[in-house]
């Protein structure tokens, strides 16, 4: 039983980071109604930025989380301003090709800059763990999960209490109405995409404590993000977090109980069921 509990705990802690990553995807879709098919690719870019800064400045990846978030915010803001805003009212498949080409550009750029080999960061507390009531908590996972939860809290506060946050929610509810009352929708969209990108940037920095990075894993993370947000409900903020925890646990358990290579089949099976039974997701509202 203890082994199972330990696996579930590890899954939950990893899942919190997944949740933060998926939250970015969910915010972007919820407000702008664009599916970010370059989400995993953006995360990989953030991860490489952290690797480089860690190697050259010797900074702890945890300290680099805000840096990664800020970098990705700027990237996302510029991307939305420069390109995606023009595609807002275009059909789905054109948006798909646009984001696909951005994804290809990002992956090939990281490949050109860093080569195909896996990279990681070394921290001296990598193998430390806490023991509470006979249960094991890996230190890196606890730190990563805490960071992710802090990120989610910060975003919730932003959307609840700041003027800009409220304005963005107004855009999500009714784009035309928001324009009528004089909100600068394009700027708000750019901020939203920036925030979504910042989420995935922070998540990438945190995830680097747990996994290696290589250019070609990007697409897997994009798919993982989709699974999570659809489980939780596209556009729902608590849904993304719950979906992340769910996928974290199901990956950890199915990897342990059945076969590691089958773990993503389990996730996709879950995704198909949820899409068919409850397409708005576990926490989503009917559109």
């Amino acid at each position: 039983v203890i082994t199972y509990l330990n696996i579930i705990i590890a899954g939950l802690l990893t899942g919190a980071v997944y949740g933060l990553m998926a939250l970015g995807l969910s915010i972007i879709f919820g407000v702008i109604r664009v599916v970010n098919f370059a989400h995993g690719e953006m995360m990989v870019v953030a991860m490489y930025a952290v690797v480089v800064l860690n190697q050259h400045l010797g900074l702890d990846p945890l300290l680099l989380v805000p840096v990664a978030a800020a970098l990705l915010f700027l990237f996302g803001y510029a991307l939305q301003r420069g390109l995606i805003n023009r595609f807002i009212s275009r059909p789905d498949h054109e948006q798909f090709i646009l984001l696909l080409s951005i994804a290809i550009l990002l992956t090939s750029s990281t490949l050109m800059a860093f080569g195909p080999d896996a990279r990681n960061v070394q921290v001296d507390y990598a193998y430390e763990s806490y023991e509470v009531a006979g249960l094991l908590f890996d230190k890196v996972r606890v730190l990563a999960a805490l960071g992710a939860i802090a990120g989610v809290c910060a975003l919730t506060v932003f959307f609840r209490f700041t003027r800009t946050g409220k304005a963005i929610r107004a855009c999500a509810d009714n784009q035309v109405g928001a324009q009528v009352v004089g909100l600068d929708v394009k700027r708000l969209y750019a901020i939203t995409f920036g925030l979504g990108a910042a989420c995935v940037g922070a998540a990438g920095a945190l995830l680097l404590l747990l996994v290696d990075v290589e250019p070609y894993i990007a697409a897997n993370y994009t798919l993982l993000g989709f699974i999570i947000v659809i489980l939780g409900g596209l556009g729902s903020m608590p849904g993304a977090l719950i979906g992340g925890l769910l996928v974290g646990v199901s990956e950890a358990l199915s990897g342990f109980l059945i076969m590691p290579s089958l773990k993503s089949m389990f996730s996709f099976g879950l995704l198909i069921l949820v899409l068919l039974m409850r397409p708005q997701g576990l926490m989503g509202r009917r559109a």
């Binding site: 054109e94 798909f96 090709i97 068919l276």
Partner: protein, 340 residues
């Protein structure tokens, strides 16, 4: 009867081609038939890649370009067609043509199941597209663990050293595959052309343009969307059989790869979604571009440069010519005939 009605509708496709169009089509076909006599092995392999892309793009185009249902999981049907015929041939020595029929029927049924589940539960738009990815990935991992057909270590077809081409068993030279592909591509274009001028085609276009309006004017959405998915899936599986016997080896991670699904949809989008010739134009342009990039970037020896150029060109096309290149080329060559 419906065709007769269609022809009387204003602004719709004419029954015949204009003489300009006839000349262009005849020239192109003559060039395509003659090509293997002049092409070396490399050029022939590129032409085969173009024809594969054109064929799959046209099959995908039926579902998305005609009926407006976005699928990002068409590798699923390629894989089902490939595995059905290859497994039957490798295990029981059953002719690939029979295997092709089985694979086509099977892919049609799977497509029909996926579509009827989705449409019954009213999964549409982005959600439907994501669902197609999910089914594609699910099946890929399933086949990775499906020991009967080799699992992740692959399924191989024995290469027979018989003299000449054995069309009955699809064992033969690249030339044979080239002509087969050419015939099938021609067939799919003609099928598309025939459908677009019948009732079914008009229903699809109506659904594509506005589902609610189509429903309000009495079109059975479920039935006709289902028909589009089944036909597209079945035709894609035919190409899957050719992939299997041309490559001689099948790995779930390449046959069912989501990257293959994406490649399938790029050609028709770049060429011109919903047009008959668009997928062919897109396939020719993108494949030649890819080959040129390979040649160019190998002289620099930087990994990733090829993909980078590819991404940049794609970005340029989608921002500058979002409706595809074929309408543009058609107008430039004045090939729009008497239409419009």
């Amino acid at each position: 009867m419906s065709a007769a009605v269609a022809e009387r509708l204003p602004g719709t496709a004419q029954s015949g081609l204009s003489s300009r169009q006839m000349t262009a089509a005849a020239l192109l076909l003559a060039l395509a038939v003659a090509a293997p006599f002049f092409a070396d092995a490399y050029l022939l392999s590129v032409l085969i890649v173009i024809l594969f892309a054109a064929y799959f793009g046209s099959a995908w185009n039926i579902m998305m370009g005609f009926a407006g249902q976005l699928s990002i999981g068409h590798a699923l049907y390629v894989g089902l067609g490939a595995y059905c015929s290859a497994a039957l041939f490798a295990k029981y020595d059953i002719s690939p043509w029979l295997g092709m029929l089985v694979g086509t029927a099977f892919a049609g049924v799977v497509g029909g199941l996926i579509a009827s589940l989705s449409f019954r539960f009213r999964v549409g738009g982005v959600y439907f597209a994501l669902l197609t990815i999910a089914f594609n990935e699910f099946t890929r991992i399933l086949f990775d663990h499906f020991g009967y057909v080799g699992g992740s270590s692959g399924l191989f077809l024995h290469v027979a050293n018989r003299p000449g081409d054995d069309v009955l068993n699809l064992r033969g030279s690249p030339q044979m595959f080239y002509y087969l592909l050419l015939a099938f591509t021609l067939m799919i274009v003609l099928i598309g052309r025939a459908i677009l001028r019948r009732r079914l085609g008009y229903y699809w276009l109506a659904i594509r343009e506005d589902e609610e309006a189509a429903c309000a004017s009495g079109i059975d959405l479920f039935r006709y969307k289902l028909a589009a998915v089944v036909l597209s899936a079945a035709l894609t599986a035919i190409g899957g059989t050719l992939v299997a016997f041309y490559d001689n080896n099948l790995y779930p991670d390449t046959v069912f790869a989501t990257s293959r699904s994406v490649e399938i949809m790029i050609a028709p989008i770049v060429g011109g979604l919903g047009t008959l010739i668009g997928p062919l134009v897109g396939a020719a342009i993108l494949t030649s571009l890819g080959e040129a990039m390979t040649a160019l970037s190998s002289s620099f020896a930087i990994p990733g440069l090829k993909q980078w150029f590819y991404g940049a060109v794609l970005l340029a096309i989608v921002t500058l010519k979002p409706s595809g290149l074929w309408p543009f080329i058609r107008d430039a060559l004045r090939l729009d005939g008497s239409r419009r």
